[in-house]
Symmetry: C2
Subunit: 517 residues, 2 copies
């Protein structure tokens, strides 16, 4: 058995059986070995950022890692932005990065670069496999590292000759440690804070915004009179009728500050204390009031659900919280804007949908309009590196083949990883993409003002607008084998979305929004 | 004056007046400052890999660096692959990477990551600007670092508040040291090797494959009976009628070994000793024969042209080499394949063209067919990180507005940075892109065999083919505002190429090549 075969068999034996790939010469034995291990599903992407973003979306839905197959330092670099997002989401991912053969390493061949240094910036675990004899064990360690709560990125650098030489052996299967429980005194501290009668917020993230966590949190909130709030961009949030409606901390600093104003106790459950995405002149960096006491009930990686359930036992033993009733907005008519787009999505979102949100400014109202929709999961852009939406949707669709994926996708961000559409078509993934086509980096137009730059000049403005020429997303979709339509009114969007959701496989709808002046 | 204004004015004062940009919030003051310094041309790209590749192509043609404007660690990551190629080309580039404000850095905001570690892998110079008072001086140092021979990448990390605070000052202009001359005894050593009468090769790279270098090298070769050869992927090579025809060392190891077989003296001029791109089982890593003596006449960064001229004085004082006569292939008819495609290009390549070669396997014959074409420059993929071709062409067109740019572009590689087409359209760049559309990663099919993997299985083969669905490059071009046509015969290609070259602005031709079986 050669190194590649042992590696793939080890991965499969430890529950990693999907590999989002963009291989090159140094990965050819890995590719060849896919024919020997049919349990591993290799999925081709046309760009590494699609592979890593898909792995992010996959693990958020599957609860276990996918592998990626990347080509040396540049391939890893192309995957970096979405690995950054995955790190912020605490997504388990196993990167296999092919490298030069050990004999070739010192020759400084053209593709030579410092893979390990780059990998170290987003990985919790990096190792270079040094011989075929150990590559199986290395792979098992990598899976264990990726899967240990709260989940993270493990990067295994695989020299080509370690891959092709014989003498390798399968290792594992891996045993994953369950997440640690929080100490009882932390539950008591949180309960005491809630009993104080002072304004308190339970601030939720990670597993605490899954179904069980939310139900326990709602019990605590109702029993103790606390408010619930989630981090701004949770990796995966359970939503819809039958669950409590938990607002997310707003993104704009002034709104975040206002959302937490007056809070005296902030109880963190699976989340870290919030900070603003960016600094702005004259604005404090964090929205938490200065006189607010921060209590860490459960850190990311600890069992937040168990902690919430324990807290509910203490703080609200007999409470039965009122979940949301089913409620959908009316399908609007007339002009298509961010709000009517959100209403159409809220009106039509199917049961069990996975909503991938990279709408940015165009998503105003989307949370509110979908709150009472049938039960669904919501995946956010966690790390702010735009271009995760289209790939994440691919991974989510692979992880949950029975569930419709709806991507609400800003236009500028879509262009970073547009070739994800081709993978949708190749794999016939059930992904409906609604492009929020406002013809600009609208979020930056707002940010230009917010940072205090006047932005009155035309040269600056040109760097923020996507017209001249307009992007034609229907043509782009067709170019990659995805059927596309264009909607210019709310009725058209509703009609096209209904049809796209009724038919399996990928669809793209170019939702033309008003241009900023 | 705020930091951003001082930075931009310093760059302009030191000859850096084009900035390929993909900004985010942390770069908004830089963007705003473009309105204050009209001498700096900001060019928007839709993806950082386009910005960095364009900066590579720009400097190869302009002989001085462009700046890039990138958004924190993920933006730098997206630009990494083409910065890798630029590093291998020894291209001067000045990256400005926006980062969180100094006050925000310790808060671990979602976009926080280790920018410096990533930058260190491809930069010869990295600095974080610590205050508005020093940012001008930092920028001047960065330009000096980038421009010092042989050219390299300087990365300046710019905290948002250093950008927006007042109190900054312009620095420079920068004085660039001319490249060092080689010591006379090295010229003597090379001359002695050539006098030995044993088979010798002058192995050329860097400036030695520019016009002056080639003419001096041809003199030496003719006078001393040595052969000329260039590195496999020179950053920029002068070619065409009136210049000597210098073959490039072939890419496939067996052909490279054969090209250098019997050589007893390899004289390096602006190039390093060749190594194979990859290791292969049972093949030595370098094509240089074991009994060949390697002489380093000029290292990269030393004045290779002066060294060749000095060598010519000693070794061939009275020789007048025969340059190539103008000669073009006939325009072929019938089937379109790599060879007939190359013949069409050779027949029609205009005077003064810049040929950007990312054809990979489809470029077989392209060198030969263009050797006697009118004088042109040839830009290669230097670092093996595919996806440089389309962006490089953009940069070359910006640097040399009077010259037609012809990109010969493999299909799979085109998809990495396809949004470069939008920048062609936005800036109305005179770039004609010929997509070598064979529907596969053909180079990898060959590599799969070459590494000794049998590749008979269908699952491996699926990871190397781009069909199902076929990419429609004409639709993709239309989606980004570039007019496109499709050629399925040599006549059609000739016809479409002639028309594209006759009309200013961008054009794309999808040249449909035979599918592999």
């Amino acid at each position: 058995m050669n190194g590649a075969q042992a590696l793939i068999r080890t991965l499969v034996g430890s529950g990693v059986d999907v590999c989002f790939s963009n291989p090159g010469t140094s990965e050819m034995h890995f590719v060849a070995a896919l024919d020997d291990v049919p349990e591993m599903r290799g999925i081709l992407t046309l760009f590494e950022g699609v592979a890593t973003g898909a792995a992010d979306g996959y693990a958020r839905m599957a609860g276990r890692p996918a592998a990626t197959l990347l080509h040396l330092g540049p391939g890893l670099g192309n995957g970096l932005a979405n690995l950054h997002n995955a790190r912020r989401a605490r997504t388990p991912i196993l990167n296999v990065v092919g490298d030069h053969a050990r004999t070739h390493k010192r020759l400084d061949a053209p593709l030579e670069s410092d893979i390990d240094a780059v990998a170290g910036t987003f990985s919790r675990w990096v190792r270079r496999s040094l011989s075929p004899e150990v590559v199986g064990a290395d792979a098992a360690d990598a899976v264990a590292a990726a899967r240990t709560a709260p989940g993270g990125i493990a990067t295994l650098v695989l020299p080509a000759d370690v891959s092709w030489e014989e003498g390798a052996a399968v290792a594992g299967p891996v045993r994953v440690r369950p997440p640690s429980r929080v100490a009882p005194e932390l539950v008591e501290e949180a309960a005491a804070a809630l009993r104080s009668g002072e304004p308190a917020v339970l601030f939720l993230g990670g597993d605490a915004v899954g179904e069980e966590g939310l139900l326990a949190a709602a019990k605590v909130a109702e029993g103790a009179g606390a408010r619930l709030m989630s981090e701004t961009f949770p990796a995966r949030m359970a939503r819809g009728a039958g669950l409590p409606d938990v607002p997310r901390l707003p993104y704009p600093p002034e709104m975040a500050i206002s959302a937490l104003a007056g809070t005296r106790h902030l109880v963190l459950v699976g989340a870290t204390a919030p900070v603003h995405f960016f600094a702005y002149p004259g604005v404090p960096g964090q929205p938490v009031p200065e006189d607010c006491e921060v209590h860490v009930l459960a850190e990311p990686g600890e069992d937040a659900v168990a902690a919430l359930q324990a807290l509910a036992e203490v703080a609200a033993p007999h409470v039965r919280p009122q979940p949301l009733e089913p409620e959908r907005p009316e399908i609007p008519t007339g002009e298509l804007d961010g709000r009517s787009l959100s209403a159409v999505v809220g009106a039509l979102l199917p049961e069990g949908a996975i909503l991938v949100d990279e709408a940015l400014t165009s998503g105003v109202g989307l949370q509110e309009m979908t709150a009472g929709a049938p039960r669904h999961d919501w995946l956010s852009l966690t790390g702010g590196a735009i271009g995760d939406g289209l790939p994440m949707a691919a991974g989510a669709a692979v992880a949950a083949p029975g569930r419709p994926v709806v991507g609400i996708q800003a236009d500028g961000s879509a262009m970073y990883t547009i070739s994800a559409l081709w993978t949708y078509a190749r794999e016939q993934l059930d992904v409906t993409t609604v492009v929020c086509d406002n013809g600009s980096y609208a979020i930056l137009e707002g940010e230009l003002t917010r940072v205090g730059a006047d932005g009155e000049g035309t040269r600056a403005a040109q760097l923020l607008e996507l017209g001249s020429p307009d992007l034609d997303f229907v043509a782009l979709a067709r170019g990659m084998g995805v059927p596309g339509t264009r909607a210019t009114t709310a009725e058209e969007l509703a009609d096209q979305l209904r049809r796209a959701l009724a038919e399996p496989g990928p669809h793209l709808i170019d939702a033309v929004l008003p241009r900023r002046k």
